[in-house]
């Protein structure tokens, strides 16, 4: 059997398209939450897909989505490094007053019986985007991208136990921010 490794092989490109492009919205979603900027997210996803295509010969599972996400996460981390060296703010998905100072405080004092108000999607997106890393990443992979704990552990290269405790923390933070949001007059 001939071995084909050429990047120009159209059959290979077709298989890659079929496997990877259905996850484009999910990948873009993850990039938006990680980078909190629409343009940067687009660039990161494009970079991710081109890298994934380059390494597609070595893809043998697990599921395509976590494999793509692991690549995307590395691209986003490179972007974080770049941002650290050029300090102009590139975060647009979170308002300035909420951007880096977390809205949340630890949840222990939260009244347990208080009902949660059903915020609209834009408000919840903003609250999620304001979560600190690495809690935001874990939260988004679970609640929005619907990965299992094990898949998340593979993507973020952390033990499953760490994923579980980060998720618990993320939800506690989000719940506090959710409550705090209710107290603010709109």
């Amino acid at each position: 059997m001939p071995v084909s490794t050429s990047n120009d092989d159209p059959d290979r490109a077709r298989r890659f398209r079929d496997a990877a492009l259905p996850h484009l919205d999910e990948a873009y979603t993850l990039a938006r939450y990680l980078l909190r900027n629409a343009d940067d997210a687009e660039d990161a996803v494009q970079d991710c897909y081109l890298r994934a295509f380059k390494h597609f010969d070595s893809y043998r599972g697990p599921a395509m989505k976590p494999w793509l996400f692991a690549i995307l996460r590395n691209v986003c981390r490179a972007e974080f490094v770049r941002r650290a060296s050029s300090p102009t703010s590139t975060i647009e998905d979170v308002p300035d007053d909420a951007g880096q100072t977390p809205l949340w405080h630890e949840a222990q004092e939260t009244p347990e019986t208080q009902m949660l108000r059903r915020w609209d999607a834009d408000t919840i997106r903003r609250l999620v985007s304001a979560l600190a890393e690495p809690f935001r990443e874990t939260f988004v992979l679970r609640e929005i991208n619907n990965l299992s704990y094990r898949e998340i552990a593979d993507v973020v290269e952390a033990p499953v136990g760490t994923v579980m405790s980060r998720l618990a923390r993320a939800r506690a933070m989000l719940r506090s921010a959710w409550m705090a949001e209710e107290e603010q007059p709109k």
Binding site: M1, P2, V3, S4, N7, D8, P10, D11, R12, A13, R14, R17, L21, L24, D25, Y28, T29, R32, A38, E42, V45, Q46, Y49, L50, F53, S58, Y59, R60, G61, P62, A63, W67, E112, T113, M115, L116, R118, W119, D120, A121, I124, R125, V128, R142, E143, I144, S148, Y149, R150, A153, P159, V160, G161, M164, S165, L167, A168, R171, L174, R175
Partner: protein, 253 residues
């Protein structure tokens, strides 16, 4: 169970990541603890609200076109088999154990074992892991398993029928040793995993696809079989049928 433990584990409970035994432990604690009961209710409600709100973004159409444009354009579909490398092998990467990791297991054993079987197949394809005993002779492969497993897996030579026996291997699935018999068809490797089962029921074969591989699963004479390969489903079915037909009748294998 303390509230501190439950505070973390209740999330795994909400997410359906606990096995039945541990789920019940957490539920037992919650049932007797108003504080944790309120937490579970609040977090369930929050997750439901988030799911209802749909917080996903849609990729801009231009992004899709940019990616499409960067990929080579497809011509006629080409069914030719392509050998691929296995350099990344992330499926085989072990997840570091922590105190909590052992209990985070999906309740669905069947699906989990299928996924483990595929992982074992992937591991076997990495250099040097395919066979522990390399032989095309069933009379060499079969005795090699003696003493290594509770049950000697049946080994039949199907070379004349287009499936070359290339050896055997001891593998691990579901944290137990399991026999793997390795066949080859053209450039495709077939791992046939054989494990003992408490039930002697005969289950008809079914074929499923997982992570790009086909799995043909059947049970016969107290043994569970999983044949895993990147062969097309019809060829894998043919392999399974020929294997079953070649089984020496009247023995437990």
């Amino acid at each position: 169970m303390t509230c501190d433990e439950a505070e973390i584990l209740l999330h795994a409970l909400i997410d359906g990541e606990l096995d039945a035994g541990h789920a019940r432990e957490v539920e037992d604690h919650i049932a007797g603890c108003p504080g944790c009961t309120a937490q579970v209710r609040a977090y369930r409600e929050m997750s439901r609200t988030i799911a209802d709100a749909d917080l996903r973004y849609t990729a801009p159409p231009l992004l899709r076109r940019r990616i499409e444009a960067a990929l080579p354009q497809a011509r006629q579909p080409n069914r030719r088999a392509v050998l691929r490398g296995f350099a990344m092998g992330s499926a085989a990467s072990a997840i570091a154990a922590t105190g909590l990791v052992a209990i985070v297991l999906r309740g669905d054993d069947e699906a989990r074992i299928q996924s483990e079987v595929v992982s074992a197949h992937l591991r076997s394809l990495q250099a040097g892991h395919l066979t522990d005993v390399l032989s095309t002779d069933q009379h060499t492969v079969k005795p090699w398993f003696n003493g290594k497993l509770d049950v000697a897996p049946p080994v039949v030579d199907l070379t004349s029928q287009g499936f070359t026996l290339i050896g055997g291997r001891l593998d691990y699935v579901d944290a137990r040793p399991i026999g793997a018999i390795v066949y080859r068809r053209r450039s495709h490797v077939i791992n046939l995993f054989v494990a003992q089962t408490a039930s002697t029921d005969r289950h008809a074969a079914k074929i499923e696809a997982l992570q790009g591989f086909n799995i043909r699963r059947w049970s016969e004479r107290g043994l569970n079989y999983w044949a895993v390969s990147d062969l097309a489903a019809d060829e894998l079915a043919e392999f399974g049928e020929k294997f079953q037909a070649s089984m020496p009748s009247g023995t437990a294998g």
